[in-house]
């Protein structure tokens, strides 16, 4: 709460004493940190805000950088009001004014505030007359607004500066086609295609032009040609969030922003563009590796991580990623090797230790795995460690040992957590001997229920009862179950299983 107040006060003061109010006035307090944001986002923003505070006592450059970083983060999270305020304050310092103005213009564009966006883009053009992305953005804005003549003038200027700009030519062609200047539009598109022969979208533009001229067959052919390429959704070119006005970084930033929203294909597209620009970049290799993993292609991720490691063998993350990728591929010896290398670099990294424990278990080195698990049980990772340990024993069908293991750690049951509850669920649905372990899990669950009858525990109880074919009792618990969002299986699905008397069973194999 203290941090929250500090942030508000800081932003408030900045707004009050802002001599640039006339540039971009602020009359609303950003409340982005006051409500239900994800903890990691809040932490990120708080850190950046702290940096703004501490940089006040430093030089202008540091203070400017801090504001700009905060602005970029807010921009990336689409917290528009906060971002606007932060950019406005960054502009106070008159450092890299074109970069800040360009970003603010984009922020307005995202909100469809075309006039404001245009005004700022014109300022950027004044400051950096050869910066063609500003021209292209401005032309696109004007095109979207239907101001075709203005759009034409702007994109023409851009093409004088950068003649061989396929994207600029495409915008120019679109403008010309809407102005019914079909021949010139066709010429521009043909130039663009010469520069970018695989430009899928260009073929569709061309098809429209052929159609306007009544050349239906040519239009069909152009569309067919376009259809051979990779079709995509909206062009995210305008959404770049970066302080680097040119080149490689916008692609990386774009890719990362798509990665953050789980749009892995788009993330891949932009990462590949970055790779084309700087094929040997460590960042690009790491990014492509992560994207491949997210796409469920660990085999394809591996070469990227290996290449990245060639450049930075002492990097903790690349070794960790290699450990995880090899584990995904079932190559446990290599996985253990790279986890160990990562831990050589950062021996206190709990998550790496946990992953190593898991890999050791998977490679049948249970004893070594359990040593790590026991070590981790003394840390803040105790729940995760217990889970990995239990999973390991169940995987190797050491059911009695698993039962004893839980029994030995029963005091942890009172510190209920998702991992332990999941572990109980695994045990509840796993045969130990001739009797199902469901009875034992049931006992534990009943103990847990006495302490605190949470919805999730009720759901576990239902599953254990179903496993023991005690459907009537399960139905009673289900009837009392609140259909809240913390259920890991929706109430409706449980009802369906119960109605059909289908025992719930979760396999760990």
């Amino acid at each position: 709460m203290i941090r929250i107040i500090a942030l508000c006060t800081l932003l408030f003061l900045a707004a009050c004493h802002n001599p640039l109010d006339q540039l971009t006035p602020v009359d609303m307090l950003p409340n982005y940190i006051l409500e239900d944001m994800d903890a990691s986002v809040i932490k990120h923003l708080e850190a950046l805000t702290d940096e703004v505070k501490t940089s006040q006592s430093k030089d202008d450059k540091a203070h400017f950088d801090a504001w700009l970083q905060l602005a970029h983060a807010l921009h990336g999270y689409e917290l528009f009001e906060g971002a606007e305020l932060a950019y406005t304050n960054a502009r106070l310092f008159k450092q890299r004014p074109s970069a800040v103005t360009y970003q603010l213009a984009h922020l307005y564009r995202l909100q469809s505030k075309y006039q404001l966006s245009n005004e700022l883009l014109r300022q950027v053009i004044e400051q950096v007359p050869d910066y063609t992305p500003a021209y292209r953005n401005l032309a696109e804005n004007l095109f979207d607004q239907g101001s075709l003549e203005e759009a034409r003038a702007v994109i023409q200027k851009s093409l004088i500066i950068e003649k061989d700009d396929a994207y600029g030519l495409q915008i120019y062609a679109n403008v010309l086609s809407q102005l019914n200047e079909v021949d010139s539009a066709t010429e521009a598109l043909e130039q663009a295609l010469a520069l970018q022969p695989k430009g899928t979208k260009l073929y569709f533009n061309l098809a429209q032009l052929f159609q306007m001229q009544g050349q239906q067959e040519a239009a069909n052919q152009a569309r067919a040609k376009g259809g051979e390429g990779k079709l995509s959704t909206k062009d995210p070119w305008l959404s770049e969030v970066t302080d680097d006005l040119r080149g490689f970084n916008p692609f990386i930033a774009k890719s990362q922003s798509f990665l953050a929203v789980n749009d892995f294909k788009s993330a891949e597209f932009w990462a590949e563009k970055a790779a084309a620009d700087r094929p040997n970049s460590f960042t690009t290799q790491m990014l492509l590796g992560v994207i491949k993993v997210k796409l469920g292609q660990p085999d394809q991720a591996l070469p990227y991580f290996l290449k990245a490691r060639q450049q930075r063998p002492g990097d903790f993350k690349v070794n960790l990623n290699l450990g995880t990728t090899y584990k995904d591929l079932g190559n446990y010896p290599s996985s253990i090797e790279y986890y160990n290398r990562a831990l050589t670099i950062d021996g206190g990294h709990l998550s790496a230790k946990l992953s190593l424990a898991d890999a050791l278990c998977l490679s049948n080195q249970d004893d070594k795995s359990m040593v790590l698990v026991e070590e981790l049980q003394q840390t803040s990772f105790q729940q995760q460690a217990l889970f990995v340990g239990l999973k390991c024993q169940i995987q190797h069908k050491q059911y009695h040992k698993a039962y004893q293991y839980v029994q030995d750690n029963i005091e942890l049951v009172s510190n209920y957590g998702p991992f332990l509850e999941y572990a109980i669920l695994l045990l509840a649905t796993t045969p130990i001997d001739e009797h199902r372990s469901g009875n034992r899990a049931l006992d534990w669950l009943e103990q847990l229920m006495k302490q605190q009858p949470t919805n999730k525990r009720k759901q576990l109880l239902i599953m254990a009862l179903m496993e023991l074919n005690r459907f009537d009792e399960a139905q009673k618990v289900l009837n009392a179950l609140r259909p809240t969002k913390d259920l890991f299986i929706p109430k409706q699905s449980l009802q369906h299983l119960l109605q059909n008397k289908m025992p719930f069973r979760m396999s760990v194999y």
């Binding site: 944001m37 917290l79 469809s112 679109n174 429209q208 909206k234």
Partner: protein, 559 residues
């Protein structure tokens, strides 16, 4: 929380005090944004309709993909009294009758007032599953309309048996996620076949957890789950057979949300156009042998003019530019634009969104239901666009809104130069209505010669908007086939004594999850006279008609 709120209040007031100049500057920004049209219109929201229905999406905090996409509604004259009644879909789960679909009877003919009464039990409505859309067609050629319900889950067909709607089994009774559907006589045999759009392969219990760019859990993109193929059921004299595979429909898949049927290549056979979310739109060209080939790409509708696939939701057709061919608009996600596809007269389309101002007007909103309607009596087709987000809007979530997807609505007025302008907020309060708008059903509920609008709201109450356009010269036609059923799929060319022409189509498809009023309304002004109507019937035959009784609806029987 109280402390936080107090802090915000204090700081906001401090800011306001220290920053007096800001407000002026800010309002000038607002004024600098594109101006809006300030034109007359004839729309009013009806508040006292007797409709108590409220859609319930059963959301439980699990971010089920289907909970934000429904639900639709449709109109048909179930009691045969000459006015249109309403069938509402609801998000019912099994054994949950209180959240089932509802049927409301229109009392216009009886009382002269636009009021509705709930007749769900009278007509035997039961729990028909988690509802998406509804459409109507006479599947057994007995002269009354039967009802098809598309569901998240098994679809349902209700046969209209003299006042009772009775579920009948068929190939639709399988667990799928269906969206918009439409009846179409694909082989011109006089029996209505059925095309059903399907979304994706998501099933409850197989949920992925997705996050927005603020790391908050949010609704997944459709692309998180595999696409599903649409279905085509052939009506063999009252018995339906799934011919999707043989008809070629299974050769392409997308996340289908909208469906319309028209003869796009002018060969006299109906083709099928689907609006697909985040995948290519499909245009199934009828091969005249119970099979179809997708020509969406070459005909310019698979992607927009920039070659981008868009998140297509709703679709509505009209000859908006009066050049005697069918153009259409598709509605899309915020940051994309709604896209206006203009027909070149040969069934090939151009994206005219930029020149028509559609891009700048539609980018901020996620649009679903859509329809063409002349709202200001200038005889130009305007657009009603129903909006509602699909990813949570942070401010609304923070304010504790249980449906934080609310957006403003839009009415776009067509100008003489075929550009569109926004109807001003203060000219029609409905536009400022923040809601999770979904379907828009276009129907003349009071039989006065202009179509009214029924808007459905996800997890909310529907809104009925009455169109009070002053009487022009108008004629309404209900086209009846040889079985005594509505001749869905028929089209008409109207010829006037000044040699001008208008085209119209008799169908209830389009918009989003909707069953619309199929009746044709032709309007004109001045001294010119309507001379004849040339009707193309679904079986390929043509007839002429000229015995007009103006200012009313009249049935025209197929010879």
């Amino acid at each position: 929380m109280l402390l936080k709120t107090s802090l915000i209040a204090v700081l906001v007031s401090l800011l306001a005090a220290c920053n007096q100049t800001d407000k002026t500057a800010n309002s000038s920004h607002a004024a600098a944004e594109p101006s809006v049209a300030n034109q007359q219109h004839f729309l009013t929201v009806e508040s006292d309709t007797g409709i108590a229905f409220k859609h319930v999406n059963q959301m439980q905090g699990d971010y089920w993909p289907h909970e934000i996409l429904g639900a639709g509604a449709g109109v048909f004259d179930v009691d045969g009294d000459g006015d249109l009644d309403i069938y509402f879909r609801n998000g019912s789960t099994k054994n949950d009758v209180q959240y089932a679909d509802q049927l409301y009877l229109n009392q216009w003919q009886e009382t002269g007032e636009l009021r509705f009464i709930n007749a769900s039990s009278e007509y035997g409505l039961a729990d028909y599953g988690y509802g998406m859309g509804v459409t109507f067609g006479d599947i057994d050629n007995d002269g009354d309309l039967d009802v098809f319900l598309s569901n998240y889950g098994a679809d349902v067909m209700l046969e209209n048996r003299q006042g009772k709607l009775v579920p009948i089994a068929g190939p639709w009774s399988i667990e799928q996620w269906s969206t918009s559907a439409t009846f179409v006589d694909i082989n011109r045999d006089g029996w209505l076949d059925l095309y059903v759009g399907r979304y994706n392969q998501y099933r409850v219990g197989e949920d992925l957890i997705c996050f927005n760019n603020k790391s908050q859990q949010d609704y997944c993109s459709p692309k998180s789950y595999p696409t599903e193929v649409d279905a085509l059921y052939l009506n063999q004299q009252g018995t339906f057979v799934d011919i999707s595979e043989a008809a070629g429909i299974r050769s392409e898949a997308g996340y289908t949300l909208g469906v319309v049927v028209e003869d796009f290549n002018a060969d006299g056979w109906p083709d099928i156009l689907t609006a697909n979310d985040a995948t290519k739109n499909l245009l199934w060209i009828n091969q005249q042998d119970n099979s179809f080939v997708n020509e969406g790409l070459q005909r310019g509708i698979a992607v927009n003019g920039k070659g981008e696939m868009e998140a297509s939701m709703g679709i509505a057709m009209a000859d908006f530019d009066h050049d005697l061919d069918w153009d259409f608009i598709m509605t899309h996600l915020a940051t994309e634009s709604n896209t206006l596809y203009v027909n070149n007269g040969q069934g090939y389309f151009m994206d005219q969104s930029n020149v028509s101002n559609m891009v700048s007007l539609s980018k901020p909103y996620t649009a679903f239901g859509v329809g063409w309607l002349d709202v200001n009596n200038d005889l130009l087709d305007d657009l009603i666009i129903i909006n509602g987000a699909v990813n949570t809007i942070r401010d609304q979530r923070q304010a504790g809104d249980e449906s934080p997807l609310r957006q403003k609505q839009q009415v776009l007025l067509q100008q003489a130069n075929q550009k569109f302008e926004l109807l001003a907020d203060d000219d029609f309060a409905f536009i400022n209505e923040l809601m999770v708008g979904r379907a828009a059903i276009f129907a003349d509920f009071d039989n006065d010669g202009d179509k009214d609008i029924l808007v459905t709201v996800n997890n909310g109450r529907p809104i009925l908007i009455k169109n009070n356009s002053p009487a022009n010269h108008w004629l309404g036609l209900t086209l009846i086939n040889q079985h005594g059923s509505p001749a869905l799929g028929a089209s008409v060319v109207f010829e006037f004594d000044d040699h001008s022409q208008q085209i119209a189509r008799f169908h209830n498809d389009g918009s989003y999850l909707s069953g619309n009023d199929p009746r044709i309304i032709v309007k004109w002004q001045g001294k010119k006279q309507l001379q004849k109507a040339i009707i193309s019937w679904p079986d390929g035959s043509q007839s002429e008609y000229s015995a007009f009784n103006l200012q009313q609806y009249q049935p025209v029987m197929q010879p």
